[in-house]
């Protein structure tokens, strides 16, 4: 292990929390955690200033290992807790980590509303295309035709594209990366944390144990190769034909726009209310 990695581990992982972690060998979750920690280290955030909130799933177990303020909440609800804590203490950097089922099935409503509402939060969604923790049931991102324990004859539903969903729901910053393109991932996570506004990073990840195994990709290397061969940088994708993009997905920054931030808008309402303006808000003073 390089000295740099040892230093990061020492600085950011909880010393009193006994390892090993709960994840399967080769799971992409660890790569996401690594990218997150390096991004935080590069930005230079104080550990006390960071909140990492998660829902339930393999991805949801991430917070316990890191030495931040950490909340492991209920399935699908990470963003709603994050909303409460961010509003109560806007000075904190609040990051929510979710699985694909977590964020887009049970938590789908919270996800689109968080995108619409635009608090200054970061949402990282580990999309491994399956319910990992419960043992391989289909999720809203399981591809059409693939197999899952609850789709033994092949899935007949159609998958969400999480990043595109976030763009449509109004998130001002949306990116997609993979656990294969690690440096890009770290960069995207860093950009997302630094973004002022609701920032989403969808990370295509490998659950070779529960997804890969049932779909001819039973080991992490095969799944990583699949990511390498199917990910197209957004810059390149724009010049490709629809036929060439068939079966591929884009990685990089999909949206980066400026929008009024909830806490700042609310602050204006407060100032107005204190001055005695009965109702009001932006543009309706």
């Amino acid at each position: 292990m390089s000295q740099g990695v040892t230093k990061l581990i020492h600085k950011y992982l909880r010393h009193d929390k006994k390892f090993p972690h709960v994840w399967c060998p080769g799971c992409g979750n660890g790569i996401v955690l690594g990218a997150l920690i390096r991004a935080i280290d590069r930005i230079g955030l104080e550990k006390d200033e960071i909140v990492l909130a998660s829902g339930i799933g393999c991805s949801g177990r991430m917070p316990v290992y890191v030495d931040f303020n950490t909340l492991h909440t209920t399935h699908g609800r990470a963003l709603t807790f994050a909303t409460g804590i961010k509003l109560a203490k806007p000075s904190l950097t609040v990051i929510a980590i979710m699985g694909d089922g977590d964020a887009t099935a049970i938590g789908g409503n919270h996800f689109i509303h968080a995108a619409r509402r635009n608090l200054n939060l970061t949402a990282i969604i580990i999309n491994n295309q399956i319910y990992g923790m419960t043992g391989g049931q289909s999720s809203p991102t399981t591809p059409y035709g693939s197999y899952a324990t609850t789709a033994p004859y092949g899935l007949i539903e159609h998958a969400f594209s999480i990043a595109e969903l976030a763009v449509t729901a109004g998130a001002p910053f949306v990116a997609r990366g993979t656990v294969y393109h690690v440096e890009t991932l770290e960069d995207l996570v860093k950009k997302a944390i630094l973004k002022r506004g609701f920032a989403v990073v969808e990370v295509i990840s490998n659950c070779h144990v529960q997804y890969g195994r049932r779909n001819n990709m039973g080991d992490p290397v095969t799944m990583m190769k699949w990511m390498r061969d199917h990910a197209i940088r957004v810059e390149k994708a724009s010049s490709m034909s629809i036929d060439d993009m068939e079966g591929k997905f884009t990685i990089g920054v999909l949206a980066d726009v400026e929008k009024p931030i909830y806490t700042e808008e609310y602050q204006k309402i407060r100032e107005g209310a204190i001055k005695g303006r009965p109702t009001g808000g932006p543009g309706h003073g």
Partner: protein, 383 residues
Amino acid sequence: MNNGAVLTGEHFLNGDVACAEGALAAGCNFFAGYPITPATEVAERMSRRLPKTGGIYIQMEDEIASMAAILGASWGGAKAMTSTSGPGFSLMMENIGLGMMTETPCVLVNIMRAGPSTGLPTLVGQADVMQARWGSHGDYGVIAISPASVQEMFDLTIEAFNLSEQYRQPVFILSDEVVGHMYEKLVIPPAERIHRIERRKPEKRPDEYVPFMGEEDLVPPMACAGEGYRVHVTGLTHDEMGYPHMFHTTQERLVRRLVDKIRLNADKIIRLESDFMEDAKVVVIAYGCVSRSAREAVERARSKGLKVGMLRLITVWPFPTKKLRELAGRVETFIIPEINYGQVAYEVERCAGDRAEIVQVGIMGGTVHSPEDIYDVIEEFAQ
């Protein structure tokens, strides 16, 4: 507090609005909710008042999110509240459990309407008493307070905040549509006369602090996010350090403490109002709006020389088991009028059914017992 949160003076307001004012007077600075009759006026009042007092109001996408947001806010150091009614209360159950498991102070106001399901959205009910006690899965202790007047909506909301901070858990205001919508005089005292309890903070350094170790009263001091303690908070069964520990021994210690911190402090939490009890052979037990009719019925019966007493449950949970066991020896009949098919009556039966007659006077919802309804039953049993 001189931020305008306490509207000292005399007012003429409804119960929902008094509840909101009570919350503000208690120091509530965060409200998340979703509109629902007959609780909407609480949210509307908060949305108007909180910006002026430096607090935050947010309308969430549903009640699941509202409950979650107030838990999050509480971990951000806020005094947080939500309000709802039947259907929304059902949706909140999941995260009520998380609030209990993670010992997160907050207040949840349920202005009860008649159910099940959408039921009678605009009309009164009291059938969420058992749901308040047992609604979320797993074992935990419950504090639920039932105001019977506009003044009490104010006073007892402050009390609910104090209890939630003291025992570090969600506390319920179990009110009803009649009390929520009724207009009465409300007297708000000067800010300095309002007794506020704040959550206990750790006195130890971060490296010595054990975040889920109960103190003498079984309640652990609470370090919130950003205070230098970097606590891990989880709905999984956790050890005293807050870390998941999937063993029955840890479960045993944790859940026993969660239940016991209410059970063993019950005498300090329970609030009852008893009248005419000295020689009473018949006792009417009531709470919320029904207690107003019950009081009138009991007073009328007394004026006619009937030996009737009145016990009003100000706290519905924890249930006054000890008190009822005591009374059961000398009281022959308990009459329980309530707007449900016998939820508190069921508890009374459990405590006193072996030694006294239990008379349930249920209405299924949509209206309140008239004093005559209750008087007639008293007369039948007190002759």
